[in-house]
Amino acid sequence: MKKEEIKSKIESEIKEALTAEQALIEPTIALLAELLEAHEKGTSDALQAKIKEEYKKLETEFNTLKETFQQKFFGR
């Protein structure tokens, strides 16, 4: 089975799983492509770092907002 064929099979599986969440299909398939491309271009480091960076970004943004929220409503 070729890589493209494998990718296509996984994409079909994603589409099927997200039948009820149509809006998520396109970004999820794009993310899959991004993950596979990142892996092919370098090592799995790039892949892991990319996801971890995205999560870190969300967490940092959340913590900054949480601090603002606490200062405003709890006075610290």
Binding site: M1, K2, K3, I6, K9, I10, E11, E13, I14, A17, L18, E21, L24, P27, T28, L31, L32, L35, L36, H39, E40, K41, G42, T43, S44, L47, Q48, I51, E54, Y55, L58, E59, E61, F62, L65, K66, T68, F69, Q70, K72, F73, F74
Partner: protein, 703 residues
């Protein structure tokens, strides 16, 4: 089959076992055997190929799955320059890919003469990640061991790597560790709980304060109510000041915060000042001071009287015993006269006694005596001597008696001198007492403001004064108590206002907290959670999709090589009892079988069988069309633990493999090397390496 890259040439310098430059030319060769003893540079050559393609990633176990790679040195210890490796690859379409790497300093690649320095372009060209490379292209003994000894369920990842599908394995491992949305939702839950807890605490505090302030009407719990209460206090304080003829106090404005806080704080000082400056308080304080002074004087007077009494007692005592001072002086004078007379009498007696003693000595010196030499009366010597002795003895007794009398008189005189000294001391004390008394009289006169006649009873006067002052103090106490009560009440009302203010502040906080979960900040936090939910969900879906398809993909890949695995294994091992080997695609169990039965292979295979099994899987997959563009395989010491017969069969199989792949073998096994040279009919070359200390190995070519 698409064109795959094969190695044409390797140039190596300063890398591991090669301190100097060496070139290995593989041009048009289908099999290369790197043969030599330990430390001859065989593995270094294979490692140089790995390093040129993947750089320092090959020095870690993480990517290679080779444990010995921990703290692995790339640079030859005696080389001057940074390690250098250049690979020249060529595919069947004639495309030339040149890759060169020098330490961490430089990387360069050229495809058909067009150069580029980005490593990812090379990886895109060869389409093999390092994990895929170490599983499906470079077969290392550790990789064989890892695959064989792994539990069946743990063989999935090594197998995916052998199949060139490590990306799928990585995605599965990555996704399973992430659950950000749950973590952030938990944080939001904590914030929500905190809001509820704080509101509850504020409400409880408000209820407590209101129950303590039951005398405060509900309508005072408002801005207007507080201003009204402040007004009342300010007005009352002004009235008190006016009535007492004191300056009117000046207040901070209190119609709004934060000046009101200042107003309430300053009330304490204003009330304290008014309390101390009020005439009634001042007069009361004045009387209290006077009373204290009177009490002090009274104490001093009583003490003086006591002292006076003591002196009087002493004088009376002396009078009784010795009479007054004049009488004592007179008695002492008489005693002194007696003493003089007695001393004269004693001296006279002493002289007479001396004369008698001399007369006695004279008579004793006379041998014969018939009459007294003084009066010339007839008397014998002995009679005269006896008479003189009697007179002398009598005289001695008299003198002794006089001496005793003198001693007694001297003692009496001493006693009277002491009495006189006592009289003088008492007279001095009495004089001091009179001075003190005069001073006290002046103090009393100052206190009562009038002159007292001599001999006036100071104590009675002071006691009378104390009585009068106490009367005045009692009369004033009622008035000062009234004022203090009014001022204390004002302080209490000030405290009530502060408590009401606190209740209003808490009510404001409760309202503010009620708005918290409707705020922009809260919505923004939830928006981030939604983004995390989406990302979690996307990764979860990708993971599920990969997991759902992975078995199908692996099955597909294994089914294509199923027959090859079994055939290669049968040819290498030539086992008659269980000639067939299969890899179960559901449980990844190695199964050995014959026409009658099938059983798990690992428990009863020997080490050679297990190695042959791993080699069979590796070679079968290597023969099939790969996911990458690499047309060579590297076998590092592949004949380890193989029986002599297995080695021959293995060489025969390699002869099949070289039809589709360039095979590069590193071995110290002479027998296996010879089999390979005999059995492989296509173009082949053997490099025979011999180690030299601190130098490149000797390199000879055998074909």
């Amino acid at each position: 089959m698409r064109p795959l890259y094969r190695i044409q040439q390797i140039e190596i310098e300063g890398f591991r076992g090669y301190p100097k430059r060496a070139i290995f030319s593989f041009e048009n060769k289908n099999m290369l055997i790197i043969y030599g003893p330990n430390r001859a540079g065989k593995s270094s050559l294979l490692n140089a190929i790995d390093w040129c393609l993947y750089g320092d990633h090959i020095t870690t176990e993480q990517y290679t799955k080779i444990r010995e790679r921990i703290n692995w040195e790339i640079k030859n210890f005696s080389a001057r320059e940074e390690p250098f490796v250049k690979l020249v690859l060529k595919d069947s379409n004639g495309n030339i890919l040149e890759i060169s790497r020098r330490g961490k300093i430089s990387f360069e690649a050229k495809k058909n003469g067009t150069s580029f320095t980005t490593e990812s372009i090379v990886l895109s060209e060869i389409k093999a990640s390092i994990k895929d490379f170490y599983a499906g292209i470079h077969l290392h003994q550790e990789a064989i061991r890892e695959f064989i000894i792994a539990k069946p369920e743990d063989r999935k990842d090594p197998l995916l790597r052998i199949l060139g599908l490590s990306a799928l394995s990585d995605i599965r491992n990555l996704v399973s560790s992430q659950k950000m949305a749950v973590k952030l939702e938990k944080e939001c839950g904590i914030l929500r709980e905190r809001i509820q807890d704080m509101q509850k605490i504020y409400k409880e505090n408000i209820e407590r304060i209101k129950s303590e302030l039951s005398h405060i009407r509900e309508d005072f719990y408002s801005e207007n109510g507080i201003v009204k209460l402040c007004d009342d206090i300010a007005t009352e304080l002004k009235t008190i000041a006016q009535n007492a003829m004191l300056p009117e106090p000046v207040f901070e404005t209190y119609d709004m915060l934060p000046n009101r806080q200042k107003f309430l704080k300053e009330l304490d000082t204003i009330i304290t000042n008014l309390r101390s400056a009020h005439p009634a308080t001042q007069k009361f304080s004045d009387i209290a001071n006077k009373l204290q002074n009177c009490e002090t004087l009274k104490g001093k007077i009583q003490s003086l009287k006591e002292e006076e009494k003591n002196i009087s007692n002493k004088i009376n005592d002396l009078l009784q015993k010795y009479g007054d001072k004049q009488q004592v002086l007179k008695t002492k004078g008489k005693l002194e006269a007696d003493l003089t007379a007695k001393k004269q009498e004693r001296n006279a007696k002493n002289s007479l006694s001396g004369v008698i003693s001399e007369a006695k000595n004279y008579v004793e010196s006379m041998k014969e005596l018939t009459k007294c030499p003084v009066c010339e009366q007839s008397i014998s010597r002995d009679t005269l001597l006896e008479h003189l002795s009697q007179v002398h003895n009598s005289m001695g007794a008299e003198i002794k008696s006089i001496e005793q009398t003198i001693t007694q008189i001297e003692k009496d005189i001493e006693k009277y001198e002491a009495v006189i000294k006592n009289y003088e001391d008492i007279e001095f004390q009495h004089k001091q007492l009179l001075i003190k008394k005069e001073d006290l009289k002046k103090d009393v006169e100052t206190l009562i403001g009038k002159t007292l006649p001599p001999g006036f009873d100071l104590l009675s006067e002071v006691e009378e004064n104390i009585k009068l002052l106490n009367g005045e103090k009692d009369a004033l106490k009622k008035k000062t108590d009234e004022i203090n009560a009014i001022l204390d009440n004002l302080l209490k009302r000030k405290q009530d206002i502060q408590n009401i203010q606190q209740v209003l502040d808490w009510e404001t906080e409760i309202n503010k907290l009620s708005e918290a979960t409707k705020s922009k900040e809260w919505n923004d936090l939830n928006e981030i959670i939604m983004r995390a939910v989406t990302l979690d969900r996307q990764l979860e879906i990708i993971n599920e999709a990969v997991n759902n398809k992975i078995t199908e993909i692996v099955e597909d890949a294994l089914n294509k090589v199923k027959t090859d695995i079994s055939q290669i294994f049968a040819r290498i091992t030539n086992r008659s009892d269980y000639p067939n080997l299969t890899l179960d695609t559901e449980r990844f169990e190695l199964l050995a079988s014959n026409n009658q039965e099938e059983r798990k292979a690992v428990p009863f295979f020997n080490q050679g069988d297990l190695n042959a099994a791993a080699i069979a899987i590796f070679l079968a997959l290597a023969k099939s069309e790969p996911q990458h563009n690499i047309g060579f395989i590297l076998l590092d010491d592949p004949s380890q633990s193989l029986h002599s017969d297995y080695k021959q069969a293995f060489a025969e199989i390699l002869n099949d493999i070289v039809a589709t792949r360039q095979v590069i073998i590193s071995t110290m096994d002479t027998e296996f090397k010879d089999y390979c040279l005999q059995k492989v009919v296509k173009e082949k070359r053997c490099y025979v390496l011999s180690p030299k200390p601190n130098d490149n190995p000797d390199i000879k070519i055998e074909e």
